[in-house]
Amino acid sequence: MTPEERDALAGEYVLGTLEAREAAELRARMETDAELAAAVAAWEQRLAPLLTLAPPEAPPPELWARIERGLGLALAPATARPRWRFPWPALGLGASAVAAGLAAFILLRPAPQAPLMTVLLTSSDQPAWLVEAAGDTIRLAALNRRAVEPGRVAQLWALPQGATAPTSLGLVPEAGRFSVTPTTLRPSPGMLIEITLEPPGGSPTGRPTGPILFIGRLSEAGGS
């Protein structure tokens, strides 16, 4: 990507015109691409004066109580040391930190090579699926079960680093735990794993057509 392309993409992200997929991919890429993150920050700063064009409006009175409940649910309760703040800033780091923490519970057998892991997060960064890839097989476990919208299905995709289009890994079954062994690609560090909402039977185009429900990036567990 040329600096011009990167800056244009950052500008359109800040403007809000990127589609769901493009925005999610850009956020994931910002975790590892400091220049892209800086370009986004610069655009946020350039356009910030426009924020005052929205007329102020009082939120519903019960909203703060709901946010407090959300904090309690999303974040561990305070103990001696306040623990309700996730220490990581955003998607990529968060996923790998959660993955590293949960790895101990999952990896009961010795692995011949460092397995790849991630946690797929919702658009509001809530952990949704634990993903572990060892060899050619990718295993997924739901961290909390959610029903898919009626009349739609959830479809799993992988996007290797450098690839332009994601590859379908099939539909997500009802069970909260399943594994896939793709024949056309091999799990690799940096690969994006995502689940999108699609029409019955899956995407008719071979590309994701619906919004991204969950997304994460594979990285080596334990950093070994």
Binding site: G16, A20, L50, A78, S124, P211
Partner: protein, 176 residues
């Protein structure tokens, strides 16, 4: 350090009272930002819920050298609102029944924030062709997608995409 920046430092340290203070100080402004994009009070409340959880989680990444804390909190809420707009199917121009209900087109550039940065941005926007400028404001303030802007301005989709991209480029050069 501004009061808001000091609050963000406390929030980064896990201080829930500081988050509440930030909410009390900014929720009316931030709810307005979410409402302009979503035009639905329930969904705007969802955006503030998601956004404040993100503020709690990411306050440590706020860098005062990169801009005002109000710009940072505004950006977090805007992106939470844009995510909700995308989830409800913003890519379909006919899907959004509320489009046009509340024409906050913000052609009143005089409402742009006072101060040096606001004045420069206003002057740069004034130099853009009319439809170019409206496209940028409809996207940033009202959260419209490319197809929605094309419908609103009665221009072909490809033209709108190219104009907005060119408009951003002109703005960057003008502000440099």
């Amino acid at each position: 350090m501004s009061d808001t920046a000091a609050l963000l430092v406390r929030i980064a340290g896990g201080d829930r009272a500081a988050l509440h203070a930030l909410y009390k100080a900014q929720s009316v402004r931030l709810f307005g930002i979410a409402m302009a994009i979503l035009r639905d009070r329930d969904q705007a409340a969802d955006a503030l819920h998601d956004g404040f959880l993100n503020i709690a989680r990411r306050a440590a990444s706020f860098d005062a050298a990169m801009g005002a804390p109000e710009a940072w909190t505004g950006a977090v809420i805007r992106h939470a609102a844009l995510d909700i707009a995308r989830r409800r199917g913003r890519e379909m121009p006919t899907d959004d029944a509320t489009l046009g209900d509340r024409p906050v087109e913000a052609t009143q550039l005089s409402a742009i924030a006072d101060g040096e940065e606001g004045a420069r941005l206003r002057s740069c926007l004034e130099q853009l062709p009319e439809k170019n400028r409206r496209g940028i404001l409809l996207a940033f303030v009202d959260g419209l997608s490319h197809p929605q802007i094309a419908a609103r301005l009665e221009l072909p989709l490809g033209t709108v995409k190219a104009w907005i991209r060119r408009g951003l480029l002109s703005l960057r050069e003008c502000l440099a």
